[in-house]
């Protein structure tokens, strides 16, 4: 019997991508289309005293200009999750204040991009400057200016998020070693390749259609409808292909509202497309911040207590601040077993660009701190760090950050396999000959676990509709978006497998909120896990209907039937067979039946695990760190499409190397200006920087909650790589870094300091 699960079938979305035929939102052109553009703030915090658009309006080709006086004033969610605790309600389309350098203050529609751009330059804004704060410390100072009227006050995005388990005082009293440290995080951005873009058109009946590059079309629909005062059936969101999002394109951005309003005002279609610079300015970043972490240990490496204080910089708006803070805080209950924890997470407004959702969602930061500290402890206790992590790794039955008992021993399996694959013990400084010379090599490892859904922050729901057509072909309707992960192919595989048809018989319909079932959005590593399970449920219903018909025709019991590759056979009766097509075919004068299945799945949580083993080379003359090789070991349950899963891992590692060594979106501490809003100045690892990656995927702890035991993989790979690199640098040169990015200047300074200490 053949099975399509676990096979790297040809992805259905890539033919268009390799031929140039795939349609992205910015490729759509409509007759009479105008070009929209935003005027952006040149100050970080100010009240808008007045805006003069008269010169811009007089420019030939300018068709409409919108300022705060022209748009609905509705306080809305920055990220339109359904009223969840993950996001804040603190934004207006355009406000009478600006809260960061680069925020939109007006929008223009014109007959060309050049005219729209010139018109923006002709708009003059009279700002009444307000005192601005750019760091968390400034924002939390007693006399700090208040950035928002909403929220708990004191520039907090939310009330401090607290978790207590066990007895922390007792745990520290029992400790034989207590270690504490502060860990700092820079400001990486997702830097997806496709700049944000949308195209809006209204029909004569007052219905808005928006093509937009979003991960969450139904969230876009909901918030646009709410803010514009429309019923949901008057907003249609279309997204076919999209050029990456990595979490950040969950938010609803200013231009999406403004584009809709400009199209309404001009009665013409309007496209608004960010420049690359705007994608930095108006985009979303990972939360920068600090984590103070203190742990108690027995001499044998047992953890007795853990205490942490997380402070994240949210930037000018809350966006996903509450969700990221909660997930980061909760994540520190786990990974390495500890019964006594006291954790506090805070998130603070500043007058800087907005931090939002980004692959890893707070866990990148928290496990960076935790896993480096574990290495420090291992060094102090004289235990191998991999052995220390193995000893403390969470296991079957341990309570996960979501308060569920964990299934399986995924983390343990990953660490053991990595130790074996890399010959770990002989690789580390303790096991090898001392290095002389300018280039120093070292090995490090880091671990992670991550949930395959947003539960319990959001009680999610995955939906699918499966329809069998009268020729036996299958149409899968899904509301999930195709970020580029190959999820739609995985959903088709799951549907085919469950239904017993061939993979090529399943066609996927997606990307149109008027047609497909409701979906919460493609994020939280949940699409294959959650929507996949809904597909499985829907397919099972269709299968039952098909087999019932076949049973009638064959005059056997449906319970005795099997279907594989679209052929129905009778158990124990060789030779008795019927194709699916024959089973459901129309008969003379009688149409084929309607065969529809509908799956709706409310998941709780499953966790995937990973351990990354990394070799680096530090050039002690230039401070340059090169990653020489990475061996990522991931346990992700049943793998649906091995190549796509490995692709997630390799891409996550690329972004994680960037975060750790070179990527930092820099904001001028004097005036809040963006200092490196381009691909040349914001340095990501490219083809020549990327090391060989030997990806190992384990399937040792499948989830009962996922289709065929599958779990998520999207976010996991970006988490463990960071601490693995920092730990490898320590192994190479004996210097401990407790922040990212770790730059060549810092390496050189630290080496100079170390040399000075040794000389003294």
């Amino acid at each position: 019997m053949t099975s399509v699960i676990g096979k790297s079938v040809k992805r259905t979305d890539t033919l268009g991508k390799v031929t140039g035929g795939a349609v992205y939102a910015g490729d759509v052109v409509l007759p009479g289309m105008l070009f929209g553009r935003m005027k952006r703030s040149t100050v970080a915090h100010a009240r808008i005293a007045s805006i003069d658009v008269s010169k811009a309006l007089a420019l030939p080709g300018v068709k409409a200009i919108l300022t705060h006086a022209d748009v609905p004033r509705v306080l809305h969610y920055g990220s339109p999750h359904p009223r969840s605790a993950s996001v804040t309600q603190d934004q207006y389309i355009l406000d009478t204040k600006v809260r960061y350098w680069g925020e939109g203050v007006a929008a223009v529609a014109a007959t060309s991009e050049e005219i729209a751009e010139l018109a923006c330059e002709l708009i003059t804004v009279d700002y009444e400057p307000l005192p601005a704060v750019f760091t968390v410390d400034e924002a939390l100072a007693p006399a700090a200016p208040k950035i928002h009227d909403v929220g708990p006050g004191g520039n907090l995005v939310l009330d401090p998020f607290l978790i207590k388990r066990g007895d922390v005082e007792k745990g520290f009293a029992e400790a034989e070693l207590i270690i504490e440290g502060e860990y700092g995080m820079g400001r990486p951005t997702p830097a997806y390749m496709e700049p944000n873009v949308c195209l809006c058109q209204w029909d004569p009946l007052g219905k808005l259609t928006i093509w937009t590059s979003t991960q969450s079309p139904f969230m876009v629909r909901g918030t646009l409808a709410e803010v514009l005062g429309l019923p949901l059936n008057k907003v249609r969101v279309l997204v076919d292909h999209m050029g990456g999002g990595f979490g950040a394109k969950q938010d609803l951005f200013q231009h999406e509202f403004l584009c809709a309003l400009l199209a309404q005002r001009t009665r013409r279609p309007v496209r608004m497309e960010f420049t690359r610079k705007e994608t930095f300015l108006g985009g979303r970043t990972r939360h920068p911040g600090t984590i103070w972490l203190r742990q108690g240990f027995k001499r044998d490496g047992t953890i007795t207590a853990r205490e942490a204080k997380i402070v994240f910089n949210s930037g000018a708006y809350g966006s996903h601040g509450p969700g990221v803070t909660a997930v980061a805080t909760a994540s520190l209950t786990s990974l390495y077993r500890c019964e006594n924890v006291r954790l506090e997470g805070r998130c603070v407004y500043t007058n800087t660009p907005i931090a939002g959702a980004f692959r890893g969602y707070g866990v990148v930061q928290s496990y960076y701190a935790l896993d480096i500290q574990m290495d420090e402890v291992a060094e102090t206790l004289g235990i191998d760090p991999a052995e220390l992590k193995l000893k403390n790794a969470v296991r079957e039955g341990d309570i996960a950050p979501s308060n569920h008992p964990l299934t399986g021993h995924g983390l343990e399996d990953c660490i053991r396999r990595g130790i074996m694959e890399t010959g770990w013990a002989t690789r580390r400084a303790r096991g090898r000959a001392p290095q002389t010379g300018r280039l120093k090599r070292g090995w490090g490892m880091g671990c992670e676990m991550h949930g395959s859904s947003a539960y319990p922050g959001i009680k999610e729901q995955g939906n699918a509709v499966v329809r069998m057509n009268e020729d036996g072909s299958v149409t899968l309707l899904t509301g999930t978006t195709g970020l580029g992960t190959g999820a739609h192919t995985a959903l088709a595989q799951i549907t085919a497998e469950e239904l017993g048809v061939r993979f090529e018989d399943v066609a996927v319909v997606h990307g149109d909120t008027d047609v497909v079932p409701w979906d919460i959005g493609a994020f939280a590593s949940h699409t294959t896990f959650m929507a996949g399970r809904a597909c499985q449920m829907a397919a099972a219903q269709v299968k039952a209907k098909v087999l019932a018909r076949a049973a009638d025709k064959l005059e056997v019991s449906a319970a005795d039937l099997e279907v594989q590759d679209s052929v129905i056979t009778v158990r124990g009766v060789p030779g008795m067979r019927l194709t699916v097509r024959e089973a459901i075919a129309a008969e003379r004068g009688i149409p084929a039946p309607q065969l529809l299945g509908e799956g709706s799945y409310h998941p709780t949580k499953a966790y995937s695990f990973g351990a990354h083993f990394v070799e680096v080379e530090v050039d002690t003359e230039t401070g340059q760190v090169s990653v020489l090789q990475v061996v990522p070991v991931h346990e992700i349950g049943k793998v649906i499409h091995p190549i796509a899963a490995a692709g997630q891992i390799e891409g996550g590692i690329q972004q994680g190397i960037g975060h750790t060594l070179s990527e930092d979106y820099v904001i001028d501490p004097k005036d809040g200006r963006s200092l490196n809003a381009s691909f040349v100045d914001y340095k990501m690892p490219l083809a020549m920087d990327m090391p060989p990656i030997r990806t190992i995927i384990l399937e040792t702890a499948p989830s009962d909650g996922g289709p065929f035991g599958a779990k998520g993989v999207g976010e996991d790979p970006i988490i463990a790589i960071g601490p693995a690199i920092a730990n490898a640098i320590h192994d190479a040169i004996g210097v401990r870094f407790r922040h990212y990015p770790i730059t060549p200047e810092q390496i050189l300074a630290a080496l100079a300091e170390k040399a000075g200490e040794q000389a003294a």
């Binding site: 390749m193 190549i643 996550g652 083809a687």
Partner: protein
């Protein structure tokens, strides 16, 4: 008062994917914008518009260029190949396109057209590139999804496959 933008279109003839196209383009328009808007070939992507990302890589008389850094009027009388013109026949893909699909070298796909065009230029010059040569050849193309692992694999696999088949590279 700022003068309105006047657009004096200039006639150019550009051979795009083998077809001579007579176009009227404003002198400030880039080849990228003309390909996407005037010629209707949206496979070539705009990732930055300032020559940093390589998503708009096309072949100009066989040499790879960032289409966003070339003015359309400069291309008058010259030949441009875009991702839409890479396949040797309408129903037969270029081996690079097959390998990119089979080996998972395309994820979100936004960088893919530029990278395939760049890879074709590379293989045209050097039919048997080493891994380092492939990585150097892609130094100007940003991919944010794949970590480049499968892109490099796909290009190497294509080179081997084309050598084995003795196919002419077109």
């Amino acid at each position: 008062m700022t003068a309105p933008i006047t657009t004096v279109a200039m006639p150019v003839t550009i051979t795009i994917n083998g077809e001579a196209r007579d176009l009227a383009v404003a002198p400030f328009r880039t080849l990228l914008d003309v390909l996407r808007n005037e010629a209707g070939l949206t496979g070539t992507k705009k990732g930055c518009d300032v020559g940093d990302c390589g998503a708009c890589t096309v072949l100009l008389d066989g040499e790879p260029v960032n289409a966003c850094l070339v003015l359309a009027v400069e291309v008058d009388g010259r030949a441009v190949t875009t991702i839409e013109g890479i396949a040797p026949e309408p129903d037969r893909l270029h081996p690079l396109q097959e390998s990119f699909m089979a080996l998972g070298a395309s994820q979100c796909g936004f960088c893919t057209p530029g990278i395939i065009v760049m890879a074709k230029a590379l293989l045209d010059r050097n039919p048997d590139p080493t891994e380092d040569e492939i990585r150097f050849g892609l130094a100007g193309n940003i991919c944010r999804c794949t970590g480049y692992t499968k892109i490099v694999e796909a290009i190497r696999a294509t080179a081997r496959q084309m050598a084995a088949a003795g196919q002419p590279r077109e």
